[in-house]
C-alpha cells in the first residue's frame, strides 16, 4: 500500500529531510507493506485545500502545524499564542494533557483527521527568535519596536499588548522592509533566519521562545484504521524515530547556522521571557472572559504549570 504525504517544505530543507527519513523508516519497519510518497512544496495546494484532501482520504498524511486544525476545533487555533507557556516542558505537558486530547478527539469526530502518536514528537524551528536591527536586551526593548507580523488577529493583538508597534507585511517583503526601516524586527523560527538573509539587515538575533511548535503528522483516520496491526506498529515506530532524528537535526542545524551568522557579525542572545509570560496573562484572561478563548485552555495551562517546590 502507498500513502500520500503532503508537505509545504522543499525536499532539501531540514524538515524535508525529516519527512523523507520518516518515509524510509516506514518502508523499513513495515517490511515494504506500507510505502509513503512525499509531495513537497505545496504541490497539492495550500493548507486548507490539503486538509480537505486529507479529510476526503485523497491524501493520507499532512505534515504541518496543528493550528490549521482550528477549523474543526477552534481551541487548536490557540496553540501558537505567544508567551503562554513557561518553557518547553510546560508546553509538552500541556500538549499531552487530557484537555488537548479532547480537542483532537473532537476534530477526529468532525473530520476524521487525527494526530499520529505524540503530538510533540517532531520539532519545528527548533525555537523562535526575534531578529532586529536594534539590540533587544530585555522585555522592555519591545516597547515601541516596529515589529513585522502576519495577518493574524491574535498575534497582532498580543504583540500590541506587549507594547510593540505592529506592522503587517508579507513574509517575502520582510528583508526589504527591515533594510528600509519600515519595520525594525521580525519573529521567525531560527531555522529560517539565515536562508531569508534577515541577519544581513538585522544583526541582533534574540531567542525569545515566543511559542513552541511541532510539525503535526495529521492522518486520515479511515486510512489508519485500515492498516494491519504490524503496519500500524511499524508506522508509529518510524514516527517516533523520525521525531528523535528531527530534534537532533534541528538543533545541530540551528547551532551551525548561528555560528556562521555570528562569524559574519551577528549577535545572538537569549531573552528572559518570564516578564512577557506574566504580562500576557491579563490579556488571555480578558480573551477568556469575552469568550474568544476557551476557559478550558487557560485551565489546562495552569494545571500543567510546574508547581514551585
Amino acid at each position: 500500500e502507498t500513502w500520500r504525504m503532503a508537505t509545504k517544505m522543499p525536499v532539501d530543507s531540514p524538515e524535508g529531510k525529516v519527512f523523507q527519513h520518516f518515509a524510509d523508516l516506514t518502508e523499513k519497519y513495515t517490511g515494504g507493506a506500507l510505502t509513503i510518497q512525499v509531495y513537497p512544496n505545496e504541490q497539492l495546494g495550500k493548507e486548507d485545500a490539503v486538509l480537505e484532501q486529507l479529510q476526503a482520504g485523497i491524501v493520507q498524511i499532512y505534515a504541518e502545524g496543528f493550528g490549521y486544525m482550528k477549523k474543526w476545533e477552534p481551541s487548536l487555533g490557540w496553540l501558537s499564542a505567544p508567551f503562554v507557556f513557561d518553557d518547553y516542558d510546560h508546553w509538552r505537558r500541556f500538549m499531552q494533557s487530557d484537555t488537548v486530547k479532547g480537542w483532537f478527539d473532537e476534530a477526529r469526530e468532525q473530520a476524521g483527521v487525527m494526530p499520529l502518536g505524540d503530538p510533540t514528537a517532531v520539532l519545528r524551528g527548533p525555537y523562535r527568535v526575534m531578529v532586529s536591527n536594534v539590540p533587544i536586551k530585555s522585555a522592555a526593548g519591545i516597547e515601541g519596536l516596529k515589529l513585522r507580523m502576519h495577518e493574524n488577529k491574535v498575534a497582532i493583538e498580543a504583540w500590541d499588548h506587549l507594547g510593540a508597534e505592529v506592522i503587517t507585511l508579507p513574509w517575502t517583503e520582510v528583508y526589504q522592509g527591515i533594510s528600509k526601516n519600515i519595520v525594525q524586527a521580525v519573529n521567525s523560527p531560527v531555522a529560517l533566519v539565515e536562508s531569508m538573509r534577515f541577519n544581513e539587515v538585522a544583526p541582533y538575533i534574540t531567542r525569545n521562545d515566543e511559542y513552541w511548535q511541532s510539525v503535526g503528522f495529521m492522518v486520515n483516520e479511515g486510512a489508519y484504521e485500515a492498516l494491519g496491526e504490524e503496519e500500524r506498529a511499524g508506522l508509529l515506530k518510524a514516527y517516533a524515530e523520525a521525531g528523535e532524528y528531527s530534534r537532533k537535526l534541528m538543533f545541530d542545524t540551528a547551532d551551525e547556522s548561528i555560528a556562521r551568522m555570528e562569524k559574519a557579525g551577528a549577535t545572538f542572545t537569549t531573552m528572559d521571557t518570564s516578564p512577557l509570560v506574566k504580562k500576557m496573562q491579563g490579556f488571555y484572561e480578558a480573551k477568556a472572559k469575552s469568550g474568544e478563548l476557551p476557559q478550558a485552555f487557560l485551565d489546562a495551562v495552569e494545571e500543567t504549570r510546574a508547581k514551585p517546590e
Binding site: 476526503a56 474543526w72 507580523m149 495577518e151 506592522i167
Partner: protein, 187 residues
Amino acid sequence: MTPQEYVPESPLQRALHRADLAVWSLGGVFGLLANFCLLVMLLLTATTIVLRPFDLSFYWIWPWTMVFFIWLSFFGFFAMYVRLKDVRVDFLAARFGPAGMAATRIVSDVATLVVVVVILWQLPAVLATSRGVFDGAILPQGAELPRQALSIPLFVSAFLILLAALLDVAKLFAGMPENVAESHPES
C-alpha cells in the same frame, strides 16, 4: 450577432429571445460586480501605499484585497462567458461552412454543460469541507469571513452559465443563430 441585433419571428423564438436578452443583461450585472471588485482592490491598495509614509496600516486590508480578487475572478466567469470575451478559434469550423459552425456550436454547449455540471455537482462536498474562516478578512462585527463565502460566486456563475448554455441549445433547436462576438474585418 448579439441578441440586440436579432429579430424573432415565431412565438417560441420570441420567448427564447426574451430569455436571451435577460441572460445578456444579467451578464452585464455580473460584469458590474467584477468591476466593483476591481475598483475596491485598486482603492484598498492605493490606500495602503498612501498610508505607509505615515506608519499607518490596517492588517485587514490585504486579506480583503484577496477576497475581492477571488470574487472578481468568479463573478467575471459568467460575465465573460455570456458577453463572449473569451477567445474562440473558428478558422477550422468556418472551413466546413454552416455545418461546421453548427456542429461546433453543439460541441461548445456540451463541453460547457459538462464542466459546469461537474462544478455544481460538487457543491455540497465543497461546502461541507470548506470550513473555517479566511484569516484576517474581518467583518464589521469582528468575526472573520467564512471560507465558504469565497467559492459561492463560482457556484452562482456556474449555475447561470448552465442556464445560458441550455438556452443556446434551445435556440439551436428553434432555428435561432448563436451569439458571437462582433467582428468587422476588411470593411
